[in-house]
C-alpha cells in the first residue's frame, strides 16, 4: 500500500540535501562521499547510481542553486520592462533580493554558490568551470551587461576589475557568513541572517563601483 513508511524523501533528494549541507560547510574537495552518504543515511553506491560520480553530484548541487537564482534574476529584469538602462543600485537590489529568496528556500544554497564562484577562477578546476560556463554562461552574461551599463564605468577594463573587486566582497562575505556573524554577535546564538548583511553591502558596492577613476591608470 503506502510505500515508504520510513522514507518520506527519496534517496536522490536526501543525497542532494546532504551534499549541499556538507559542501557548504566544508567545500567540495574536503567533503567525502562517505560523509555525504552517512549524513543522508544512504548506501555509498547510491551516489554513483543517482549522480554518476562525485563530480556529477557537484554539478547537480550547483544546478540546484544556480537554476532558481538565474530564473529569479531574469524574472526581475523582465518585470523592469524593456528599459535598457537600469541604474546600478536597483540592479544590485535585484541581485540581493534574488539571493535572499534563494537563501530563504535553501539555507545552504548561497554557501554552495559561493564555493562555485571561488572555484570559478582556479586554474585546476577546469572541469567545473566548463560546466558552469556552458550551463550558465549566457544567462549570467545578460545580467553582467545590465550591470556594466548601469555602473557608469565607461572603460571596459576598469569595469572588469571593479566587477571582480566587488564580486570578491560578495563571495568572501557570503562564504564566511556564519563565521562573520558569529564574530559580530559574540556570545549570541544569532542565526546567520543574510538580509541585514546584504543591506550593508549594497551601498558599499555601489560606492566602490562609482568611485572616481584614478587618472593614471587608464
Amino acid at each position: 500500500m503506502e510505500q515508504q513508511m520510513y522514507d518520506p524523501i527519496d534517496t536522490a533528494s536526501r543525497i542532494l540535501r546532504a551534499a549541499e549541507k556538507l559542501f557548504a560547510e566544508q567545500g567540495f574537495k574536503e567533503t567525502t562521499m562517505r560523509q555525504i552518504t552517512t549524513e543522508a543515511q544512504v548506501n555509498l553506491a547510491a551516489v554513483n547510481y543517482h549522480f554518476g560520480s562525485k563530480s556529477g553530484l557537484i554539478h547537480a548541487v550547483a544546478e540546484h542553486t544556480l537554476e532558481p537564482l538565474c530564473a529569479d534574476i531574469e524574472q526581475a529584469l523582465a518585470s523592469q520592462g524593456h528599459k535598457h538602462n537600469v541604474a546600478l543600485e536597483p540592479l544590485l537590489n535585484i541581485l540581493a533580493s534574488a539571493l535572499i529568496r534563494i537563501h530563504r528556500g535553501n539555507s545552504y544554497a548561497l554557501s554552495v554558490l559561493m564555493r562555485c564562484l571561488e572555484q570559478a577562477y582556479r586554474s585546476n578546476q577546469s572541469e567545473l568551470q566548463a560546466f558552469l560556463l556552458q550551463s550558465y554562461g549566457k544567462r549570467l552574461n545578460v545580467f553582467l551587461h545590465h550591470l556594466r551599463a548601469g555602473s557608469g564605468v565607461t572603460d571596459e577594463r576598469e569595469f572588469f576589475w571593479r566587477l571582480h573587486f566587488l564580486l570578491g566582497s560578495i563571495v568572501f562575505t557570503l562564504s564566511n557568513l556564519h563565521a562573520l556573524v558569529a564574530l559580530d554577535t559574540p556570545g549570541g546564538e544569532a542565526a546567520a541572517e543574510i538580509e541585514p548583511v546584504l543591506k550593508r553591502l549594497v551601498p558599499v558596492i555601489t560606492a566602490g563601483m562609482q568611485a572616481p577613476v584614478q587618472p593614471g591608470v587608464i
Copy 2:
C-alpha cells in the same frame, strides 16, 4: 664526507620554497607532500623531519610571508610619527606598498597570504586560525585600529562589516590574480603584475569604506 657539493641551498629552504610555490598555485589541501618533495628534489620524509608535519610546514610558509609583511607595515606606521589619525587612503597605500614589496621579494608570498586569509574564517580550520591568531593577532590589530580611526566609520559593527567586505575584495582579487590578469589581457602573455591592480583597487576600497551608511541598518 662533505655533504652538499651540489646543494647550495639547504634542504629546509628548498622545501619551504617548493611548498610556497605549490601552496600558492594549488592551495594547502590540494598540494600533496609528494608534490612538494618532488619539486624540492628532497626526500619525502625530510618534510616531517624539518617541519614536523604538513601542518607545521603550512605554519612555516605562513610565517615566511606574514612576518615581513607585519614588519613592513609596522615600520611604515612608525615613520608616520605618532599621529594617531592617519587618513584612510594613506593607510591603504601603506598596506598596498607593503604588499607590493613583499611580492617583489617573493612572487608567491601574496598568494600564500590570501590562502591563509581564506582559511581564517573557515570553521574547520581552527588549528590554522589559532596559529595565526596567536602569532599575528596583536600585530595586525594595531593596523586595524588605525584603519578604523581613519575610516571615518563611527559605528563599530558597520566598520566590522565594511572591513570584511573590502578584505573580500583584496583576498578574492589577489587569490585569483593570475586568472584575472589572463582574462584581462586575452592572448597576451602578461605577467601577473600586482601594482596596477592595487592602484585600481585602492580608490574602490576607499570609496566603499566611506559610502554613506544606510539609515535603517544601524
Copy 3:
C-alpha cells in the same frame, strides 16, 4: 495494455544478442552487466530475471553457439555414411564448413566459441568447464574419435598433444581474427572473412597432425 508496440524482438533475445556481441569483443569477465543491458536497451535486472545470473547468461550464450555447431557436425558425419574411417582432411573440412556456416548465421558465434575454449582449460573456471562437459562432452567426443582414427597417429598420448597443439592454432587464430586480419591488410577496411583463413589453416593443421613422430619421445 499491449506491451511491445516498439519491441519486435523480445527482451531475452535482445539480451542474448547483446551479450554475444560484447562477450565476443571483450571476453566474459571484461563485459559488465551494465554494458549488456545498455547495448540491449533493457533494464539491468532483466538479465537476472531471464537468465538467473551472469553465469547463466554465459551458459545460454555458449549453448547458442555450440548447439548448432554440434548439430551441423553430426549431420555432416552422418551424411558420410557409416564409414568408420574418414580421412583427416575431410574431417577438418567438415569442421571448417561447420564453423563457416555458424559464422554466416551469427558473426559473433565463433568468437564466443573461442572464448569458451580458452576457458575450458583454466583451473579457475571449473563451473563453466562442468557446464560445457556435461552439455557437450559426449557429442564432441564423437567427433574427436573420428579425428583420432583419421589422424593416423597411433599413440594415444601423441594424439592428445597434437590435438591440443592444433586446437591452439584454431582458438588463437579465430579468437584474434579481427586483429590478425587488420594486421594482414594494413590500411584496408577488410571485413574479417573467416573462409580464406580457414582455407589456409586446414592444410597446416593436416601437415602438423601427420608430421613424423620424434623417435625419442614415445
Copy 4:
C-alpha cells in the same frame, strides 16, 4: 646489526614473485592487488610504492620474463655465426631451448609470457601492447626475420598466417600446460615438465610451417 631477521628477500622481489605466480595462474585482470599483497605478505600500498600501479607491476612482470628470453635467443643466434640462413628446425630448437631455460629459472615465467601474448592481439589492451611493442618489438623482429627466411615460405602473407597459426599452438599449449599435463597423466601428480611437450611440439610446428601451400589461396 643484521637487518631483516624475517625478511630475507626484499619487498619488491616478493611482490614481483607473488604477482608472477598469480598472474600466471589467474590472468592479469582476474588477479587483485589484495591477492598479490596477501601472497607477498606485504602492505597493499607497497605495490604502488614500488611499481606505481597495477599496470606498472604487469609491465615489470612482463619484463622479468621477456628480457632474459630475448637475451637467450639473441645469444643463441649469435653463436650460430653470421650464417644468414638458419634452417627452420634449428631456429625452433633455439626458441624451445630458450623457453626451457627460462622455465627452469622461473616456473611461472612461461605462463606469464603466454598471458602477454594472449593480450597482444586484444583490441582493448592497447596500453600493454604499446609497452610490449616499444620494449621488445625490435628484438623479437630479428628472430621473426630469421624464422621467415628459414621457413621456406616465400609468400609474405602466407608466412604471416602460418606464423600465427603456430604461435597459437605454442600459446595455447603453454598457457594451459598444467591442465593439459594433468589430463595427460590422470591420477599422476606429474610436475608440469615443459621439455617433453616442446619436443613433441617442434616437429608438428615444423611440418605445419612447411606444408604445401594451397594452390587457390595466394
